[in-house]
Amino acid sequence: MNEIIIAILRSGTPLIYVTLAGVIAQRAGVWNLGLEGLMIIGACATIVGIILTNSILAAMLIAILICVLASVLLWFVIDRLKANPIIAGLGLTGLGVGGTALAVQSIFGSQASVTAPFGIPKLGPTFGAYGVLSIAVAAMPFVVFGMWVLLRRTRFGLRLAACGEHPFAARSVGANPSRMRLVALAIGGALCAIGGAELAAGSLQFFAQGMTAGRGFMAFAAVIFGASHPVGATFAALFFAVVGALGIRAQLMFGDKIPHDLLQALPYLATVFGVWLSGKLRGGAKAASSFAELRDQ
């Protein structure tokens, strides 16, 4: 049992951090498809930072700084230059994936993946079997709770949500939707940096090109699945982690009878089923309406 929980926390935590970044952006009215790029920037910057500074703290601060800057760039393009947020987000993702590869190459002179001498500190033996988890995993529930408080239990959160849902209402009480989006994206950038750091330096100490492997997009799916609610989306991300683990289990159990490729599709199938079911229970969330509004921005 412990092992299963550990596995799920491990694969779920990076996803959850990035999902929270997506949640805060979504609430502020930005469809952030740059999550994948921000996450890989966070992963790369952390590993490279550890090597260059020999300090995990400095490395993560660097990662957070770079991701926040990248988010500000996204904000500038979307908000100031009125670019289409979806295209711009995908562009940022491309920049992240390509830029980290190029950065590694120009810093280390080869395309080789990078191994760091150490990673994020582990909880340690006092926590028994859970000691192998990094402190970022342990911090995760607090961050989720913090985000929930921030978004659902403070006036700031209300104003942020108003900026996404009804910008005019937000403006008419004196909030500045543009600035709110900046804040939301910047916070999201920091969260993506932590998510990327946990992916690369949580239980691994390793950066490989493209190692986020679509997790940013899964996080985006979790945001929608979780109806942009910090806790709901967290559970959606956990759900993805669980079905991912079950997919592996299915390969180990049935791999000799059913083709592996088809078994690997099970998590995706489970996701479709889950979204369908939650839609039924919620009475059908409408994403298209928000998309129609996006088109006219």
């Binding site: 080789a112 191994t115 490989a208 090109q209």
Partner: protein
């Protein structure tokens, strides 16, 4: 001598293994022989032809590429660029042969067979595993050979395969390996390029977990767990072939078969592990290696036939 030598690699660099080895060797060679080189990553099979054609048009002296998927584009284009020397690593022989193409095949699966033999001797739980990047035919063949190797020693041992779905997803590799180790599997053979990094990390988490990978560059990642590799020194192979090709007596239209015992493919115990690994495992490894030696000899003298089977 000058000219352009291009390596078109169809797997991403950064695997601490074959691709990185090839690029390093190509660089070395270009410094030694004074030609310009390009390492082009061709991720997408739909683009292979275009890339080769562009290289041909650019007057490349030598084009080196990898894996079977490039065979068709080679066949289509090599005749149009007779001045260019084409080398396909990891290939079936062309029929009919094309005069300016050299193909090289590797019996990598035989190394996996030896790893299977070794695994069977090393496992105490009777459970072994194999983690691949994507379930494509050559990897399937490797798994089947590994399994055959295990069963040649312990017919009732279990051999489980799983695939990460990507060659660049170490986190997924770690997740799969962790589940395998938790299931009691104590020996995993990898075949997943950069994904290996995560598998090694999983092995490092507990004493007694063994993992066998594919390149010497990985030794340092698991000094106490990475017990061996099924080495395929693409770099050396590339170096040899390219050196021949820039020389005057290059002969095209040939196929080179690289098997065990050529120095390119082999099952190699990790020297780092021999130094730092648990003494108990190292002691048993000594015995196991005797069995591996026997199997190797058997393969070389033909008394052991390892089937090449590309379906799971």
């Amino acid at each position: 001598s000058g000219g352009l030598v291009a390596l078109v690699h169809t797997q991403a660099a950064g695997d601490n293994g074959p691709v990185d080895q090839m690029i390093a060797k190509l660089k070395q060679l270009s410094e030694e022989k004074g030609f310009e080189y390009r390492a082009v990553y061709a991720q997408d099979p739909a683009t292979y032809e275009t890339i080769y054609r562009t290289l041909g048009d650019a007057g490349a002296a030598i084009i080196i590429s990898t894996f079977n998927e490039v065979a068709e584009p080679f066949k289509a284009l090599a005749p149009s660029y007779p001045g260019t020397k084409w080398i396909q690593l990891f290939a079936d022989p062309f029929e009919p042969a094309i005069p300016n193409v050299v193909t090289v095949s590797y019996d990598y699966y035989l190394g996996c067979y030896l790893s299977g033999v070794f695994a069977a001797k090393m496992t105490t739980t009777g459970k072994t595993g194999f983690i691949g990047g994507v379930s494509i035919p050559p990897l399937n063949a490797d798994f089947n050979a590994f399994k055959a190797g295990v069963h040649s020693i312990k017919p009732d041992a279990s051999v489980i395969a799983a695939f990460a779905g990507s060659f660049q997803d170490p986190a997924k590799g770690q997740e799969i390996a962790t589940q395998m180790y938790n299931d009691g599997i104590d020996y995993i053979q990898t075949d997943a390029a950069a994904t290996d990094g995560g598998i090694i990390a999983a092995a490092n988490e507990k004493e007694g977990r063994m993992v066998s990978c594919l390149a010497p560059g990985q030794y340092a990642l698991g000094p106490k767990s990475l017990i061996s590799i099924v080495g395929l020194d693409f770099g050396v192979s590339l170096y040899n072939e390219a050196t021949k090709a820039v020389g005057p007596e290059w002969k095209g239209g040939t196929h080179e078969h690289t098997g065990l015992g050529t120095g390119v493919i082999d099952f190699i115990p990790s020297p780092v592990f021999a130094e730092q690994g648990p003494a108990e495992l190292n002691a048993r490894a000594k015995e196991a290696l005797v069995e591996v030696e026997k199997a190797r000899a058997g393969i070389l003298d033909g008394s052991i036939k390892v089937p090449f089977n590309t379906t799971l």
